[in-house]
C-alpha cells in the first residue's frame, strides 16, 4: 500500500555532495506535488566534517515539523552510520557503502571525542567490535533494519567506464547513488529525478546525463532487490505548482517584492545566503524590461553595513541588512542613531547559538531579549518574528511597511533553523499585498522641518528632495540641529516613544499573536518562531491521543499584544500553560510576564542547537502536564 509520509535522513562529509542529493530529491518530490520540509545540520567547516539533512516528505500536506525515528537513512560514509544508527526505526532501511565495512570510529578523525566515547559505550553494551560490519550486523539481526548494501566503488567504476571519466572525478557521483537508492525505495520515477537533476545542473547536459545514469542504475538495482517498500501515493495537496526554497531564499524574494532597493551586509552564517540571493537578482528584468534594481554591498564590517543602510534610507530607498548575533552585536550603535533620527530600516536577524561565536551553524532563539533592548537609551523598535517559510515571506514585506509607517527600525527575528531549511511552500499570493510608505513629504514647504512637532509622526523628506534637512545622533530640535533644552528634550522623547503607542493601537493584536486550536483546549502551549511547526504537529498527535491542546504563536514582541495575550492565557489553568522555546531562560515567557504581569510556570526548552522534534516534544508536554515544571530537550545529533 502506498504511504503518505516518509522521514528520511541523508548524511555525509561536508563538501561531499550531500547538498546535491538533498536538492535533487527535494525538487523531484516537489515535481510530484509532495510537501517537504527539511533541516540541514552542519559544522562550521567547508570540507570533511559530518553533515546531514533530515527531511519529511508528505503526500497530503506541507509538513510542519520533523521527527525521529526516520524510516530511511542514506549514508554517504561510515561516520553517518556511526552517528545516526540510533535515529533509524526498527525495521527501517539503511543505505550504505559496503566497502566501508571495516571502518571503526577510531579511524575517522572527524568524529568528536564525545561521540567517540558514546559509541565505545554502545559497542561495549552490544558486545560488538565497533566496525561498520559489526554494527550493521547488529542492526540487521536485532533491530531488523533492512540493509541496502551497495558497493559505491563498483557503481562509480561503472559510470567512469561508461562515460570515460577520469577516475579522480568519480566521487562527484556519490550524491546520485543516494538519490537513486532513495528513489528506488519510494518508487520515485526516473523522470522526476531527471527533472531534479536538470534544475540542479542547468546548462550542463553531460553532467545531467551521467548523474541520471547513476541514479537510474542504483534505483533499478534497489527496486530489484527490495521492491519499493516506501512507495509514496499520489499527491493530495491539490496544487499545480510549489515553491522550493530555503528560509534565506524566501526572505530575499520577499525583500525584492517588498520594494527593498538597498542592502548591505557583512558575511556571516546563517544570514549571508540571503544577500547572495539578492545579489544574483540585482537586475529586476522581465522580458528585457527593467523593473528596477537592488544594490547589494558587501561592507568591511557590520558597523558599516547598518550605517550605510541608514544613509540609503535617508535618500528614500527601502533599505535593510541581514545578519546574525555577532554581527548584530556590532550594529547596535547604528540602530540607536536610526531610532533617534526616526529612520525606517529593517534588520533581518537570523539567530544562531551564542554567546560569542557560540555555535555558528546551529539554531537558537536566545537573542530575543537582546533584540528588544539593543542599543542604549530608549526608542521605539518594532520586533517581529516568523514561524515558517510562508510567514517569513509576508512578514519580510510587512517589516518595510511598519518601518516606514512608524519611521523606526524593525528587527525581523528569524533563526538558523528557518534560514537553512529547504522546504516546499505554496507560491505566495501577491495581489492582496500593499506597500505602505507612511508619511512622505513629496512636495515639502520651504520651511519644512524634519522633526515637526505638530505631528507625532512627521512627514519624511528625502535627502536630495527640494529642501535642506539635518540629522544628528544628539537630541535635536525640529530642524534636526543639536538641542539640549530640557523641555525640547521631553517633546522629542515623547514624539518618538508615542509612535510605539500608535503602532500598538493600529496593528491588530491577532496579527501579533495567533491562536491555533479549539477554544476549549485542555492546555495551552506558547511559543514563537520556528517552534510553531513542531508544536502544531505535536498538538495534532496529542489530539489524536485524546489530549486537546492549543498553541499561542507570538509574532510581535514590540509592541507586544498584551491585552490579547492576557485574555487568552486567563482562559487556562495556570498549571496547563507551557512556554516552548529554544533557549535556557525561556525569554519569550519573560517578555510576556513583563508585558502582562502573568508568570508562566511551565517551560519546555531546548538549547542543543538542533531543532525540536515532534516525538520528544509530545513526551515533554505530557511530563509538564503531569506536574513537572521544566523539561529540557536534547534529542538529535
Amino acid at each position: 500500500m502506498a504511504r503518505r509520509e516518509l522521514d528520511l535522513l541523508l548524511g555525509g562529509a561536508q563538501g561531499a555532495g550531500l547538498d546535491t542529493s538533498a536538492n535533487v530529491l527535494t525538487t523531484a518530490f516537489a515535481r510530484l506535488g509532495y510537501g517537504i520540509t527539511s533541516d540541514r545540520e552542519y559544522f562550521s567547516n567547508i570540507k570533511g566534517r559530518h553533515s546531514y539533512v533530515h527531511a519529511r516528505i508528505s503526500t497530503t500536506e506541507i509538513p510542519q515539523a520533523l521527527t525521529y525515528p526516520v524510516q530511511v537513512v542514506g549514508a554517504m560514509d561510515a561516520e553517518t552510520i556511526f552517528t545516526h544508527h540510533g535515529n533509524l526505526e526498527d525495521g527501517g532501511y539503511l543505505i550504505f557503502d559496503k566497502s566501508t565495512s571495516d571502518r571503526r570510529p577510531s579511524s575517522i578523525s572527524s568524529i568528536e571525542p564525545d561521540l567517540m566515547r558514546r559509541l565505545e559505550n554502545t559497542f561495549a553494551e552490544l558486545k560488538i567490535d565497533g566496525t561498520i560490519a559489526s554494527l550493521v550486523e547488529f542492526l540487521g539481526e536485532v533491530r531488523k533494519v533492512k540493509l541496502v548494501e551497495l558497493s559505491y566503488p563498483d557503481i562509480l567504476a561503472e559510470v567512469t567506464k561508461k562515460f570515460k571519466l577520469r577516475a579522480a572525478y568519480a566521487s562527484r557521483y556519490i550524491s546520485s547513488i543516494l538519490v537513486g537508492a532513495v528513489a528506488g525505495l519510494v518508487n520515485l520515477d526516473g523522470k522526476s529525478v531527471r527533472y531534479g537533476l536538470e534544475r540542479r545542473f542547468a546548462g550542463r547536459p553531460e553532467v545531467i546525463e551521467q548523474n541520471s545514469f547513476v541514479a537510474d542504475y542504483v534505483s533499478d538495482a534497489v527496486k530489484g532487490k527490495y521492491g519499493s517498500p516506501h512507495e509514496l501515493g499520489r499527491s493530495q495537496l491539490g496544487c499545480d505548482e510549489l515553491m522550493v526554497a530555503s528560509g534565506n531564499d524566501v526572505v530575499a524574494m520577499a525583500k525584492i517584492v517588498g520594494g527593498m532597493r538597498y542592502q548591505s551586509y557583512y558575511p556571516i552564517t546563517p544570514a549571508a545566503d540571503e544577500s547572495f540571493f539578492l545579489e544574483s537578482s540585482e537586475r529586476l528584468e522581465v522580458n528585457g524590461e527593467s523593473l528596477g534594481s537592488v544594490i547589494v554591498i558587501q561592507t568591511e564590517d557590520e558597523i558599516a553595513a547598518i550605517n550605510s543602510v541608514i544613509g540609503a534610507a535617508l535618500t528614500g530607498a527601502r533599505s535593510a541588512t541581514a545578519t546574525s548575533g555577532p554581527g548584530f552585536s556590532l550594529m547596535v550603535e547604528g540602530l540607536g542613531w536610526a531610532g533617534i533620527n526616526e529612520v525606517p530600516l529593517v534588520v533581518t536577524y537570523y539567530q544562531r547559538g551564542g554567546p560569542s561565536t557560540g555555535q555558528p551553524t546551529r539554531g537558537t532563539q536566545s537573542d530575543l531579549l537582546f533584540a528588544l533592548s539593543a542599543s542604549h537609551g530608549e526608542f521605539p523598535k518594532i520586533v517581529l518574528s516568523s514561524g515558517d517559510h510562508s510567514e517569513a515571506f509576508y512578514d519580510a514585506i510587512e517589516a518595510f511597511n511598519l518601518a516606514e509607517k512608524y519611521q523606526t527600525p524593525v528587527i525581523h527575528l528569524l533563526d538558523k533553523f528557518l534560514a537553512n531549511s529547504i522546504a516546499t511552500l505554496h507560491v505566495p499570493k501577491l495581489s492582496a499585498l500593499k506597500i505602505e510608505r507612511g508619511k512622505i513629504a513629496y512636495n515639502p514647504p520651504r520651511d519644512y522641518k524634519r522633526f515637526d512637532l505638530n505631528d507625532t509622526i512627521s512627514p519624511r523628506a528625502f535627502l536630495g528632495s527640494k529642501v535642506v534637512t539635518w540629522y544628528t545622533g544628539d537630541e535635536h530640535d525640529e530642524a534636526g540641529h543639536v538641542n539640549e533644552d530640557p523641555l525640547n528634550r521631553v517633546k522629542m522623547y515623547d514624539k518618538r516613544m508615542k509612535k510605539l503607542e500608535i503602532a500598538d493601537r493600529e496593528i491588530p493584536p491577532e496579527k501579533r499573536a495567533v491562536y491555533f486550536g479549539p477554544e476549549d483546549a485542555d492546555f495551552l502551549a506558547i511559543g514563537w518562531g520556528f517552534v510553531k511547526g513542531v508544536v502544531l504537529d505535536a498538538l495534532k498527535e496529542l489530539s489524536n491521543q485524546g489530549l486537546k491542546g492549543a498553541y499561542l504563536h507570538l509574532k510581535m514582541f514590540s509592541p507586544f499584544p498584551s491585552d490579547y495575550v492576557r485574555s487568552v492565557i486567563e482562559r487556562f489553568d495556570p498549571e496547563r500553560v507551557i512556554i516552548v522555546e529554544h533557549d535556557y531562560l525561556a525569554q519569550a515567557g519573560m517578555v510576556l510576564t513583563l508585558n502582562t504581569g502573568i508568570v508562566i510556570e511551565k517551560a519546555i526548552t531546548k538549547y542543543t542547537g538542533r531543532p525540536m522534534y515532534t516525538r520528544e516534544l509530545i513526551a515533554a508536554i505530557r511530563r509538564v502536564i503531569n506536574g513537572e515544571k521544566r523539561v529540557v530537550l536534547s534529542y538529535g545529533e
Binding site: 516537489a30 510530484l32 506535488g33 534544475r199 499520489r234 499527491s235 495537496l237 499545480d240 505548482e241 515553491m243 522550493v244 524574494m253 525584492i256 517584492v257 517588498g258 520594494g259 532597493r261 538597498y262 540585482e282 529586476l284 522581465v286 527593467s290 528596477g292 534594481s293 544594490i295 554591498i297 568591511e300 564590517d301 558597523i303 558599516a304 550605517n307 550605510s308 543602510v309 544613509g311 540609503a312 535617508l314 528614500g316 530607498a317 533599505s319 550603535e333 547604528g334 542613531w337 516546499t424 507560491v427 501577491l430 495581489s431 499585498l433 500593499k434 506597500i435 510608505r437 535627502l463 536630495g464 527640494k466 535642506v468 534637512t469 540629522y471 544628528t472 534636526g480 540641529h481 543639536v482
Partner: protein, 318 residues
C-alpha cells in the same frame, strides 16, 4: 556661476573655541561651495563625532551628523542610493583614523565619488585632549600625563595605500589654497582625501599656528611638481604613487601641502555598479518607485514567477 558665500552659513551658533582651526576649514568650505554654486538640496555634508562633527550643522546644505567613526559608511549609503548627490565627509583624525580606520581604508578600495575632509589636530579635542592617531610618539601635548607612547599614522601614506585616487593636504590657516584643494577634491571623480592640518588652541600646545607658519609650504609652487596621472597605462600611476609616498614622509622643518596624488582614470564604484546594472544611474535605489499607483506591489504574481521561476516547480501527476 558662483553663489553668495553667506547663503552657505546656517544660523546655528558656531561653538568652537575662539581661534580653533575649524574656523579656517569651514571658511574654505563656504567659499568652495559658493564658487562651485553647489545646490544645497543636492549636497550632503556627513560628519562624525567630535569638534569636527559639528560642521554639518554650520553649513547650509543637507547635514548628517552621524556616529563616531562612521561618517564614511553613512556617506556611502547616501551616495550609492542617490548618486546625483554631492557628498562631503568631515571627520577628525581620531574619528577617521582611530575608531573609523577600517571604513577609511574601505572607501579607498571602493573609490566612491566623494570627498573626505579630515580635521587633523593631533588630539581628541572634545574629550579634553587625549592623543589622536596622528600625534607623533614622544610628544607630550598639554593634557597628556606622559608623552605619547603610540606611533602616529601617516594619513597621506595610508590614503595612497588604500587606493584613494585624490590625496591632498591643506592647512587651516591658509584658507585660499585650502578652498582650491577642497574644490578640486569635490570635482574629482572618485574617493578624494584631504588631510587638513589645524591647530587646536586649547589642547595642542606643540603643533600650534606658530609651529606650522614657518614649516608649511605649497607643493604647487615647487617647480616640476605634477601629482596627476595622465594616462591609464602601466607605469605612470606607480611612479606618481611613489613620488607622493616619498613626499608624504617629509615632516619636520618643512611640511608639504597641496595635491600629492590624483588619478582620474580609476573607475568609480558607481561606474562599476553601472556596468552591472545599466539602469542604475537613471533609476537609483533612492528614486525607484516600489509600488503601483494603487499601492500594490510593483512585482505582481506573473512577474514573480518570471523573476523567481527557478524556485518554482510545476507539479505533475504521479
Amino acid at each position: 556661476m558662483a553663489s553668495d558665500v553667506g547663503a552657505y552659513r546656517t544660523d546655528v551658533w558656531v561653538d568652537w573655541c575662539p581661534g580653533c582651526g575649524n574656523f579656517g576649514i569651514t571658511s574654505a568650505v563656504y567659499k568652495a561651495f559658493a564658487e562651485m554654486a553647489l545646490d544645497p538640496t543636492k549636497t550632503v555634508v556627513v560628519s562624525g563625532i567630535g569638534c569636527s562633527g559639528k560642521t554639518s550643522h554650520f553649513v547650509n546644505v543637507n547635514g548628517v551628523h552621524s556616529l563616531h567613526g562612521r561618517s564614511i559608511p553613512f556617506a556611502m549609503g547616501i551616495k550609492l542610493a542617490n548618486p546625483e548627490l554631492t557628498v562631503v565627509v568631515h571627520g577628525g583624525d581620531g574619528d577617521l583614523l582611530g575608531i573609523g580606520a577600517g571604513h577609511f581604508v574601505a572607501l579607498g578600495r571602493r573609490n566612491i565619488d566623494m570627498a573626505v575632509i579630515m580635521h587633523d589636530n593631533g588630539v581628541y579635542g572634545l574629550t579634553k585632549g587625549q592623543a589622536s592617531p596622528t600625534l607623533l610618539s614622544g610628544l607630550k601635548t598639554k593634557s597628556l600625563a606622559k608623552p605619547n607612547i603610540q606611533d602616529a599614522i601617516n594619513p597621506i601614506a595610508l590614503a595612497l595605500a588604500s587606493g584613494y585616487t585624490f590625496v591632498a593636504r591643506g592647512y587651516s590657516m591658509m584658507v585660499e589654497p585650502l578652498k582650491e584643494v577642497i574644490k578640486a577634491a569635490i570635482q574629482h571623480k572618485g574617493a578624494a582625501f584631504i588631510d587638513i592640518l589645524q591647530p587646536c588652541v586649547t589642547y595642542n600646545d606643540i603643533q600650534t599656528a606658530e609651529f606650522y607658519r614657518t614649516r608649511v609650504y605649497r607643493l604647487e609652487e615647487q617647480p616640476g611638481w605634477d601629482p596627476s596621472v595622465k594616462k591609464s597605462g602601466v607605469g605612470e600611476k606607480e611612479k606618481k604613487i611613489m613620488q607622493a609616498w616619498l613626499k608624504s614622509q617629509e615632516w619636520g622643518d618643512k611640511i608639504p601641502t597641496g595635491i600629492f596624488y590624483q588619478n582620474p582614470n580609476t573607475s568609480t564604484f558607481e561606474d562599476r555598479i553601472d556596468e552591472r546594472i545599466p539602469t542604475y544611474r537613471d533609476n537609483p535605489p533612492g528614486k525607484q518607485p516600489v509600488a503601483r499607483k494603487d499601492g500594490g506591489t510593483l512585482i505582481g504574481d506573473e512577474t514573480f514567477r518570471k523573476l523567481f521561476g527557478e524556485h518554482i516547480v510545476k507539479t505533475e501527476e504521479k
